[in-house]
Amino acid sequence: METNYLTDGPVSQKIITHLIEKMGGKTDSGGHMIFLGQVRADVIDGLKVKAIEYSAYIELVNVEAEKIKKTIFSEFADVKSIEIVHSTGIVNAGEISLLVFVSAGHRHQAMQACSKTVELIKVNLPVWKKEIFEDDSHKWK
């Protein structure tokens, strides 16, 4: 399911390179900060995570992602653009499940704004995750 902010499965290299190319055209930006969140093969009670299954309330993701962007733009006057892509569905360990791409006139705000965006996503985005273990059992996070 592709929306402004969600992608089905892992965030693909295609999406990442597309965004890098897209940002290249914005010559008022001097710095881009890209955060890629990856599924980690955590070991919980002796079992290794092989994948995470993400689910989301799509309509509310759109509302909340817009609010996050608005917050960041108002706090960081030098930020020119913010891109957020979060996975839904299954993402295997080692694959990317979140992309945050912030462009700013200068590096300081690019880095700070990107960091803050990630933190706001973790608190406010209506996304849920189910850890799937190597024995196919699962646990809600």
Binding site: Y57, E59, L60, K129
Partner: protein, 77 residues
């Protein structure tokens, strides 16, 4: 009069469904009683409620076509 209830995260598993329709429900508190009646296990879980994509803690009167979502703590990012 029909409202749509969406169950997210672990609640989708507890209820065995992502979506359920309820008829002739007066308010959010009324709806909660009906949901707990259908799925008593839900009482063990923390969740927030949104009405038509807006989070709310209030007991609002419901009207037909309203969409209510039951959302456990978010775990994105």
């Amino acid at each position: 009069m029909q409202v749509k209830v969406l169950f997210f995260g672990v609640l989708a598993e507890v209820s065995g469904t992502g979506i359920k329709y309820y008829h002739d429900v007066r308010s959010i508190s009324d709806l909660k009683f009906r949901i707990l009646d259908d799925f008593p296990e839900i009482v063990h879980y923390n969740f927030r409620i949104s009405l038509n994509s807006e989070l709310t803690n209030d007991d609002i009167e419901l009207k037909s076509e309203d969409v209510i979502a039951l959302m456990p703590p978010f775990a994105g990012g």
